[in-house]
């Protein structure tokens, strides 16, 4: 299985690069925190309203943060001129995408985990009762964001004004994830929590469809 072993090696490289500086994790974490605080200033929610709006705000913050976080994903390779050597070294270019999207999912999940306590305190929402399912929702949603985000950052890295372009390409594409994940999260954090398995399944289907598209068309994204 050269695809899996290649992916594992590349994933190790992604993680090493990031954990040497921890630039992405700290900046994105602080960004989510700022957005959550600013939202509460802008809306000034009471307890009941917070329960209603907060899940949507959380997902919006994650979406914005991801469009910042994924900027550097292919840009790092371009600036250091390492992309062509990567492509030569790997037999299946899908391994590059797989490694990057797994790394992106991990980074995104890590910042979300760090931010969840703040979210619970600021918006006065107890997370304990349904924490395992909440983590599952966060995982499925973040995976979808990372798959589409990795693909789009490969596109935007090759264009002008890439910093502005990535959110423009990515955010409309992620509407389904935002809609369904916020609703599933909202009903999970309700006074009488309900687990909407159909919603989680829908986001999983989104992940699967975009992963397949990336598998089919990914190699063309890296052409030079």
């Amino acid at each position: 299985m050269s695809l899996l072993s290649n992916t594992a090696i590349l994933l190790g490289k992604e993680l090493r690069t990031e954990f040497r500086s921890r630039e992405l994790l700290t900046t994105t974490g602080v960004f989510i925190l700022i957005v959550l605080v600013l939202f509460s200033f802008a809306i000034n929610p009471g307890t009941e309203e917070a329960r209603q709006f907060a899940p949507g705000l959380l997902w919006l913050a994650i979406l914005f943060a991801s469009s910042l976080m994924f900027q550097s994903c292919f840009l790092r390779e371009q600036q250091n001129d390492t992309l062509s050597s990567l492509r030569l070294a790997v037999s299946d270019p899908f391994a590059i995408f797989l490694a990057k999207l797994i790394a992106n999912t991990l980074f995104l999940l890590l910042t979300e985990l760090l931010m969840l306590p703040f979210f619970a305190i600021f918006y006065n929402i107890p997370l304990w009762p349904k924490l395992p399912v909440l983590l599952l929702v966060l995982f499925v949603g973040s995976l979808g964001i990372s798959i589409a985000g990795t693909a789009m950052s490969a596109i935007s890295a090759q264009a002008r004004m890439r910093e502005l372009l990535l959110p423009l390409l990515l955010l409309p594409l992620l509407t389904p994830v935002l809609v369904v994940s916020s609703l599933v999260t909202a009903s999970l954090l309700d006074r009488e929590p309900v687990v909407q398995w159909k919603g989680i399944g829908f986001v999983a289907v989104f992940d699967l469809i975009f992963l397949t598209a990336l598998w089919l068309f990914g190699e063309y994204l890296l052409e030079e």
Partner: protein
């Protein structure tokens, strides 16, 4: 050249006939009155727009597969013309909705997904302006177009099943929801007229893009000398 003029003339005749039919042939709707007649253009444009995006998607797929510039021209023609028709849908919708529902906009499934569709193809055209090199621009925008088109059913499903709690509002659910037979005939006819117009515009836009790329090649040759 001759064929394009004929197609243009047919498109104009069809649109005029559709306008006549929707004002004078179709019976007046009992509760909504005159304003309901915008329905024939609204729905017809929606069909034509979706079809144009399908043309764009086919162009994108063919470009990735064959790498011939003509498929890139087809892609950009489909996207632009589709965007025009979707804009018509988004403008005629509120004009119709305001007197009938009392509001300009509601976050209903069909409206919202049309709007997201519109945004996706605006991004597609924006991306094209930000990549200089023609081959790269063609490839990148084709790939984004493929991702965008795959996204459309997901957007529609997500909003349909999770955002609209109540069944869709007064919108006539297209044909089949108790539409008067004459109204249905007029609707189909104006849909056809819009599609002929769409085909004409795509052909024209395609030819324009072809000329642009020829001019571009010539300019490069001159500059290289």
């Amino acid at each position: 050249m001759g064929k394009r003029i004929v197609l243009g003339a047919v498109a104009v005749l069809f649109v005029i006939a559709a306008a006549y039919a929707s004002f004078y042939v179709a019976p007046e709707e009992r509760t909504m009155g005159l304003v309901q007649r915008i329905f024939y253009f609204h729905v017809g444009s929606a069909w034509a727009g979706l079809l144009a995006f399908l043309v764009c998607f086919i162009g994108n797929l063919m470009y990735v597969w064959k790498r011939e510039a003509k498929y890139d021209w087809l892609g950009v023609a489909g996207a632009e013309v589709g965007l025009v028709f979707t804009t018509v849908v988004l403008i005629t919708g509120p004009i119709w909705a305001h007197p009938v529902w009392g509001i300009w906009w509601t976050w209903d499934a069909r409206l919202t997904s049309t709007f997201v569709l519109w945004l996706l193809y605006v991004s597609y055209l924006l991306l094209r302006t930000l990549v200089e090199e023609p081959d790269r621009r063609a490839l990148l925008s084709a790939l984004f177009g493929i991702f965008a088109f795959i996204d459309v059913p997901l957007v529609f499903g997500a909003i349909r099943w999770w955002r609209t709690q109540h069944p869709s509002p007064v919108i006539m659910g297209g044909p089949g929801s108790g539409l008067d037979p004459t109204m249905r005939k007029v609707l189909y006819f104006s849909g056809l007229a819009m599609c002929v117009l769409m085909a004409f515009l795509i052909v024209e836009r395609y030819v324009l893009e072809k000329m642009r790329s020829e001019v571009d090649i010539l300019r490069r040759e001159v500059e290289a000398q």
